[in-house]
């Protein structure tokens, strides 16, 4: 092994990119060659110093600052995790108090989505118009979801179907669920939550 090969291999050692026989050969070269030993030690000094360059701390409060800037994301599941908290009792009360509402909810097509405002409803048809992008998750109950634009989130259908237009696309996960009582209840709850939220915030 000549010095040039040895010096190349010294770099490979740093990346654990060397075979055992090559490593043995390198070691015996190093024993015989003081100039390559010097290269080895200067490489060691270099990598130690480079690692020190990563020892920089971000200013205090960084995480809190990032968290403050986040837009709240409401997803299907986060709705349920919130359910476990204080809202659970209040929602349950509302649910029990409004059996008629639940019944009417279940008898007509429903769509629950974070980006509800970009989706157009025509009868039992929910349309994602051409050029629109739905980033979050979508749950559709009964009816038809017509995708002319783009849906990036996951789609869950409960007794519903999906039609994708020539320019439409869907990149998320698709799950089909039979209208089991549990699924119906989930849709009803989600819809109820939407309505409660509208009442509380006063926007539609």
């Amino acid at each position: 092994m000549n010095c040039q090969d040895a010096r190349r291999l010294l770099h490979h050692v740093l990346d654990d990119d060397i075979t055992l026989p090559a490593k043995r050969q390198l070691e015996s070269h190093l024993q015989a060659c003081s100039s390559c030993r010097n290269v080895e030690s200067s490489l060691d000094r270099l990598t130690t110093a480079l690692e020190q360059l990563a020892d920089v701390s971000v200013p205090q409060g960084f995480t809190a600052h990032v968290m403050q800037q986040l837009q709240p994301v409401r997803t299907y599941t986060s709705f349920f995790s919130r359910m476990r908290g204080v809202c659970a009792a209040a929602l349950l009360f509302l649910l029990l108090a409004t059996p008629v509402f639940v019944w009417s909810t279940l008898s007509s097509p429903q769509l629950v989505a974070d980006d509800r405002q970009v989706i157009v409803q025509e009868g039992n048809r929910f349309i994602v118009p051409y050029g629109e992008v739905v980033k979050g998750d979508v749950i559709i109950y009964k009816g038809i979801l017509e995708i002319q634009g783009e849906v990036q989130g996951s789609i869950k259908t409960v007794d519903a179907s999906i039609e994708v237009g020539p320019n439409g696309s869907h990149s998320g996960v698709l799950r089909r669920v039979d209208a089991s009582p549990k699924a119906k209840l989930a849709v009803a709850l989600a819809e109820l939550w939407e309505n409660v939220k509208c009442l509380l915030t006063g926007n539609d």
Binding site: S42, L53, D137
Partner: protein, 194 residues
């Protein structure tokens, strides 16, 4: 694959902000340090570090569980850094020599161990930081990602979207160039002390 990251991302995707905060906490220092060395000043580094995590957050739904998190994070940070550097200097000569007028000298005679061994580590790091800052950005990112941020060849290749062989070449050249700078610095230092 870091299973803790996967768990946290799974929770974050479901809207669990506390899990996301844990990820920011875990990688905040490293990403800031990386960006600081990439762009050269703390103010820009801080802005970009924040932007990195905000982008992660707004792209949570595009992250597929099972995909390694760390390279994804560094990829976003790297792209932001490169964009800023491009803004500052619109034309970057990609194959310019590492240090303008100095070709690599692999056969340079080595100095034996001397008083430079006592050279303050901090001083050495400061000198090295300067030299790293002078590297072209595409060499700088490779050397930083490999040393101090513990990413593998494959992960770096993924982050920078170039073949592994290119990563190996850049690492070798950048390390040799920096090593020679250190050796050179040490001989100057020794000469001054005589």
């Amino acid at each position: 694959m870091d299973l803790v990251d996967q768990k946290l991302m799974q929770k974050a995707k479901r809207g669990d902000q506390a899990a996301f905060a844990e990820l920011v906490d875990k990688y905040g220092d490293k990403i800031y340090a990386y960006l600081y060395r990439m762009v050269g000043n703390r103010e820009d580094a801080l802005d970009l570090a924040q932007e990195t995590f905000l982008r992660i957050y707004s792209n949570l739904q595009n992250f597929k569980l099972g995909q390694p998190f760390k390279p994804w994070l560094y990829r976003i940070a790297t792209n932001l850094a490169i964009d800023l550097l491009r803004e500052r200097q619109p034309v970057i000569a990609l194959d310019a020599p590492l240090f303008a007028d100095e070709p690599l000298r692999l056969e340079l005679a080595e100095q034996g161990p001397g008083p430079a061994e006592q050279h303050e580590q901090a001083e050495l790091a400061a000198y090295l930081a300067q030299k790293v800052a002078e590297l072209p950005a595409n060499y700088r990112s490779v050397i930083l990602l490999r040393h101090g941020h513990d990413l593998s060849y494959q992960e770096i290749a993924e982050i920078l979207q170039v073949p592994v062989s290119t990563i190996k070449t850049r690492l070798f050249r950048a390390r040799e160039a920096l090593r020679l700078k250190l050796v050179e610095e040490r001989s100057l230092w020794e000469a001054e002390c005589k």
